[in-house]
Symmetry: C3
Subunit: 262 residues, 3 copies
C-alpha cells in the first residue's frame, strides 16, 4: 500500500531586515507491507526527493544503484527490531533529538545544537523493550567511519537519553531529557563535541492550554547563544496558526503563519 | 486529504519545418481541509515541481524556507475571500485571462497577449459576491514592486473584466470580455502596455456542435499579428481529439493529437 | 483514474573491492481511462522522472512541448493495437527482451546484450492476435533515423522472437527464445550487431521450487564474457529475499537484499 500525505504552510517571515511572503508544499509517499511470516516492511520518500531516493545523489546510482541514497528510507522490522537503510539520522539524533523550536518555518532551527551526522546510504538499527530504546547507526561503509550508539529510557512522565557519535574527524556526546509537569513539558539537551572548546546546551518549555501551546527555548551553542518564544493555536482539521520570535545572537527574526497537514 | 490527478497528451506537431512526435504527462496533487470554524485551506502542486514548491527555486529555500516558491500554491479561504501564496498569476491575469487558443499543445500560445507578471512567492487575494469578482495581487515584497488589481462582472450570458498591473519598470491595462450567443462564445482582450507603442488586441470564437468545438482566434501583438483555427472532439471518459493551425506571423505551425484527463 | 504504486529495496552490495549499503525507492503513477467508444488510453511515469515527462529533457519542452520526452509513456489502444509515445524501448527490445538476471540490484545487468535503442519522443506500435505479436518502433523524426520491427510467437510452453533495428550508424538483428520444462524455464538471446566482429549470445535457466527460484545465466558479449548465479525467495506480501553473484569478466560482484513491491 502507498499512502499519499501532504503538508503546507503560508505566512510572513521577518528575516531581521525585511518582511517577506513565505509558503511551502510537501508531498510524502509512505509505503508499507507485511510478509507471510509477519515481518513488517516499508519505505518513505518525499515527492521532491524522489530522484535522489531512486538513483542516489550522483544520478548514476553508484556502483549498482542506491549506494548514495541521500533521501528517503527503506526498512524491515519484526521482533528483532527495525533496520532502516537510506537517509537516516544518526542514532544519537534519533533518540536524544532536540528541544522544541518556534515559528511556522522553524526560524533557522536555532533550538537545535546539531549532530555530527553520517554519510548516506547509512544504516540505522532500533530496538525497544518496555520503556527502554536502543539505537545503533553507521555511515555508508568505506567513507567517514561514522558510527553512533544511543539509549533512551522513556515513560509517560519523563525521558532521559544518552547518545555517542564518532567519525574520522570528531566525536560528540549528547545527553537529553524531558519531563512533563501538568500542562508543562520541559526538554533539555547537552552536547559535548570533542573539537569544540565549550559544551553546548539547550532548554525548552512547552505549555499547553486547550488549543494553544506556548513555547520558549534558550540555546547556548558555545560561540553564540540566543532564545526563542512562540505559540501555536490548533485550528482543527490539520491546520494551526503558528508564530515565533528568535534572537539567534546576530538578528532578531520572527514569523507568523498557518501550517496545514493533509 | 490529498487527491492525485493526471493529464497526458500525445500527437504530432509541425513546427513550420519538421513534423515531430510530441507527448507529455503531468501528475497533480491537490490537498484540501477545513478548520473547526469552517475555514477552507489547501494546497496544490505538480509532481515535476515538487522541488521548487518545497524549497524555493534556489534550493536553499531562502532565509527561512519558501520565500521564493515559484511552483505550487497554498491557500486559506472563508467568508473574507481567498488568500493564496506561492506561484500565483497576477490579479489581472486571473480575472481578465486570455481568449481561446487552439491545438493539443497550444501551438506556442499565440492567442495570449501576455501579462507583466510578478516575482514569487507572490500573494493573491480574491473576493466574489454575486456576479462581481475582485482580485488583488502583489509580488514578493522588496523585489520588483509589482502589484495588480482587477474586477470582473460575470453572468451566464456574458462577462467583462478590467485589470491593472504596475511594477518598477512598466504598467499595463487589460480589458476583457466574453459573450455567449447560442452555440457561439466570443472572447476579446485588449492590452495596453505603457512601454509599447501599440495596443495589443485578441479575439476568439468558440462554436460548439454536440461533441465538437471549433475555435478561431485573431491576435495582434502590436509588432506582429496572426491567427489560429482549431477543433476539439470530445471522445468521452476524459479524452479528446484536438488539432489546430496557427499563423504566428513568422511560421505556420500545426498539431493533431489526443488529450487525456485522469 | 491515477493509481500510485511503489517499489523499494535494501541490502548489501560487493562491487569487487568493497561491501556497501544499498537502498532505493521508486514511486510510479499509472493513469488509465476509456473513451465512450471503448478505446483504452493511459499514461505512466515515475515520480523521479515527472520533470522530463512533463517538459522534455531540455526543460523547455522543445518547440511546442513534449518532443523530447525521455521518461514516461502515453498510449491509446483498441482493436487496431496499441500506440505508445514517449520513452519507449525499441520494438526488438520489447519483443525479444533479455535473458534472466540475478541479484536484488541486477548487479550491472550483465545478462543484457543491449539494443541500439532510439531517440525519444519515440513511437511504438504493438499488435497481438492469438499467439502472434508484432511491434514497430521509430525514433523521434528527423533525428537518427532509428527504426525497429519485431515479431514474437508465444504459447504457454515456449516463445520465439525475432527483432531488427536500424539507425543512421548501425543495425542489429536479435533472436530470442524461451521454453518451460516443468519447473525450469530456459531463455536464450542472440544479437548480431553489424559494427561488431562477433555475435553476442546469452542463456539463462530459472528453476522454481515452491517459494524459491534459482537463476543462472551465461553471457558472451563478444569482447568479454561472464556468468551469474542467484536466487530469490518469496517472503509474501510483495517482499522477496534476493541475492546473486556475477563474474562480468573483470570483477566478481555480489549482492544480497530484500526487494519490496507496494
Amino acid at each position: 500500500e502507498v499512502a499519499v500525505s501532504g503538508a503546507a504552510r503560508m505566512g510572513l517571515v521577518y528575516d531581521g531586515n525585511d518582511t517577506e511572503f513565505s509558503s511551502r508544499i510537501r508531498v510524502t509517499f509512505s509505503m508499507s507491507g507485511e510478509t507471510d511470516s509477519g515481518l513488517s516492511f516499508g519505505a518513505s520518500i518525499r515527492a521532491d526527493q524522489a530522484g535522489t531516493g531512486n538513483a542516489g545523489a550522483d544520478g548514476a546510482g553508484g556502483a549498482f544503484g542506491g549506494d548514495d541514497m541521500d533521501a528517503g528510507t527503506v526498512y524491515i522490522s519484526g521482533a528483532f527490531g527495525k533496520l532502516t537503510f537510506g537517509d537516516n539520522d544518526s542514532a544519537a539524533n534519533v533518540l536524544v533529538g532536540n528541544v522544541s523550536g518556534v515559528g511556522f518555518t522553524g526560524l533557522g532551527d536555532f533550538n537545535e545544537l546539531g549532530y555530527l551526522g553520517q554519510v548516506d546510504t547509512s544504516a540505522l538499527y532500533e530496538y525497544s523493550t518496555g520503556a527502554l530504546s536502543f539505537a545503533l547507526s553507521s555511515s555508508q561503509l568505506n567513507t567517514d567511519d561514522a558510527v553512533s550508539v544511543a539509549v533512551k529510557y522513556s515513560t509517560d512522565a519523563f525521558s532521559v537519553a544518552l547518545g555517542y557519535e564518532d567519525d574520522a574527524a570528531d566525536s560528540q556526546i549528547s545527553l537529553g531529557g524531558s519531563a512533563t509537569f501538568g500542562a508543562a513539558t520541559v526538554k533539555a539537551v547537552v552536547a559535548d563535541v570533542d573539537s569544540a572548546a565549550d559544551t553546548a546546551f539547550a532548554l525548552s518549555v512547552d505549555y499547553a492550554m486547550d488549543a494553544t501551546t506556548v513555547t520558549a527555548f534558550y540555546a547556548d551553542h558555545g560561540a553564540v547563544d540566543g532564545f526563542g518564544l512562540g505559540a501555536s493555536y490548533d485550528l482543527g482539521g490539520g491546520a494551526a496558526l503558528v508564530g515565533g520570535v528568535v534572537d539567534n545572537g546576530v538578528d532578531t527574526v520572527a514569523d507568523l503563519g498557518v501550517t496545514m497537514k493533509f
